[in-house]
């Protein structure tokens, strides 16, 4: 035990953060991050929704319905960022062989899929009054649909193996293949749409955005960041408990949990 610790210190130059590549060391840290992020998400979420729904002015062109962007846009950003994060942890896992990287990757996937679904769903509710239809085969919408399929494929593949390690590595490879393909698919969708002359065009930004709208949007974005990190941390802790349940360091954790539930 002491020898391996010393070895790892030598190998990684004793940097403190490498310590957290170990699930045992990361587990309590993840718990602290999770609690912090839940709190931040709750505060900023309430504040952002208040600013967005009550304080921001009515949009001159779209009326009240534009307010869905305070949910829609942050969810869409998170959907893309989480896929990149997933691909990053997958690459790290395949490269360094660190178990925690795969766990992070798998913990992120359901949150990313959920964000994609929220972006699509709120987009449809926004599109009905604004464009007159729930769905258009616009390049952006189509690529998000494909992104959702990529998330679902990743999750399905990860669950398809009895051997956890095999599922980890297989799904990591598919996450990387998907990450390379996402820009290509987006490019193809743009080209395809220009050929077919889609029924409507997504206008970016609009004329000019009121400062209070921008503040509401920023607050909601940080709330979504915090919520996603908290959800991922909660899930990665569950994954760690599931996989390391027979480890020695896990005994007091599981026992403490059981006692807390009893009282």
């Amino acid at each position: 035990m002491a020898r391996t610790e010393q070895q790892s210190t030598e190998r990684y130059g004793g940097r403190w953060f490498w310590r957290y590549a170990s699930p045992a060391a990361f587990f309590p840290l993840a718990g602290r991050i999770e609690r912090l992020c839940w709190a931040v998400a709750a505060v900023l979420g309430v504040l952002g929704l208040y600013l967005g729904l009550f304080r921001a002015p009515v949009d001159a062109q779209q009326g009240e319905v534009y307010r869905v962007i305070f949910i829609h846009v942050p969810a869409a950003w998170m959907a893309m960022i989480i896929y990149l994060a997933m691909a990053f942890w997958s690459l790290l896992g395949l490269w360094l062989g660190t178990r925690l990287s795969f766990m992070m990757s798998r913990a992120l996937a359901p949150t990313g899929a959920l964000m994609t679904l929220i972006a699509l769903w709120t987009g449809a509710f926004w599109g009905r009054p604004t464009w007159g239809t729930y769905w258009v085969w616009d390049a952006k919408l189509t690529s998000f649909l494909i992104l959702f399929f990529l998330y679902v494929g990743y999750i399905a593949l990860a669950e398809a193996f009895d051997d956890v390690r095999k599922g980890d590595r297989a799904s990591a490879l598919i996450a990387l293949v998907g990450a390379i393909n996402v820009p290509i698919i987006y490019f193809a969708a743009v080209w395809w749409n220009s050929l077919h002359q889609g029924p409507s065009v997504v206008k970016q930004g609009g004329p000019s955005i009121a400062p209070i709208m921008l503040w509401a949007m920023l607050t909601m974005t940080f709330a979504f960041w915090a919520w996603c990190i908290a959800a991922a941390m909660h899930r990665v802790r569950s994954v760690i408990i599931e996989r390391e349940r027979n480890a020695v360091w896990m005994k007091p954790v599981v026992r403490g949990q059981a006692e807390r539930e009893r009282t």
Partner: protein
């Protein structure tokens, strides 16, 4: 034995297998014929309507048929043990996988590309559209098989492999579908399809460069 000799031997073995057991490529072909025949029953037989959907139906049908042939790449060899021999070969695995995909592509893509123009005529499409469509199918099917080789390699030993392969691979085949079908649409509108065909060929080259490497990594993961 050099890589080229080894890859050549793998290629010749596959071609011989296709020649002796024709169901490997004939069944996906039959599937393609039946799928393309079903659509007129569903949408009606007016020439104008058939012309509108024809290119898309034929193209998607060809991709689905190629999809069905993917388990043929590794599953059987995993069962009878010859996959182990492939894995223990001193030659780079990516080259040997490329040889197998090339053999399957030669058998399947040429068969599908021969039948596609026939159906283009059934769908009331002009002859020049039919030829462009045949070429586009000839390029699209190998692209799909190359991408599919990654998924097929990953899922050699997994539960529900065939259906999951489709879920993983079909979204990634969208670019070649867009440009292949787009090229035929261009000809239908009386325009030049060269830009779309060039981009579709570019995707094939990209897949040719990257997919065998990814597939060999995938095969090592799933058989370790």
């Amino acid at each position: 034995m050099s890589l080229f000799a080894a890859a050549g031997a793998v290629f010749r073995r596959e071609i011989r297998l296709f020649a002796r057991r024709k169901s490997d490529w004939a069944n996906p072909l039959m599937f393609f014929l039946i799928v393309c025949s079903l659509f007129p029953f569903a949408v009606g037989s007016e020439a104008e309507r058939l012309r509108t959907i024809g290119i898309g139906v034929i193209f998607v049908g060809a991709l689905l048929a190629a999809m069905l042939a993917l388990p043929r790449l590794f599953d059987e060899d995993a069962r009878d043990g010859s996959l182990e021999l492939l894995l223990t070969s001193p030659e780079p695995l990516a080259g040997l996988i490329l040889a197998r995909v090339a053999a399957l592509a030669l058998a399947l893509a040429s068969a599908l590309a021969c039948v596609a123009p026939l159906f283009a005529l059934f769908y009331a499409l002009p002859a020049e559209v039919a030829l462009t469509l045949a070429w586009a199918v000839l390029v699209a099917v190998p692209t799909l098989l190359l991408i599919g080789a990654i998924a097929a390699a990953l899922l050699v030993s997994a539960r529900g492999g065939a259906i999951l392969t489709a879920v993983l691979v079909l979204p990634l085949a969208i670019p070649t579908l867009v440009f292949g079908a787009g090229a035929a649409q261009r000809v239908l509108y009386g325009e030049s399809p060269l830009a779309e065909l060039a981009l579709q060929a570019a995707f094939l080259l990209l897949a040719l460069a990257l997919c065998p490497l990814a597939a060999s990594a995938a095969l090592k993961i799933s058989t370790e």
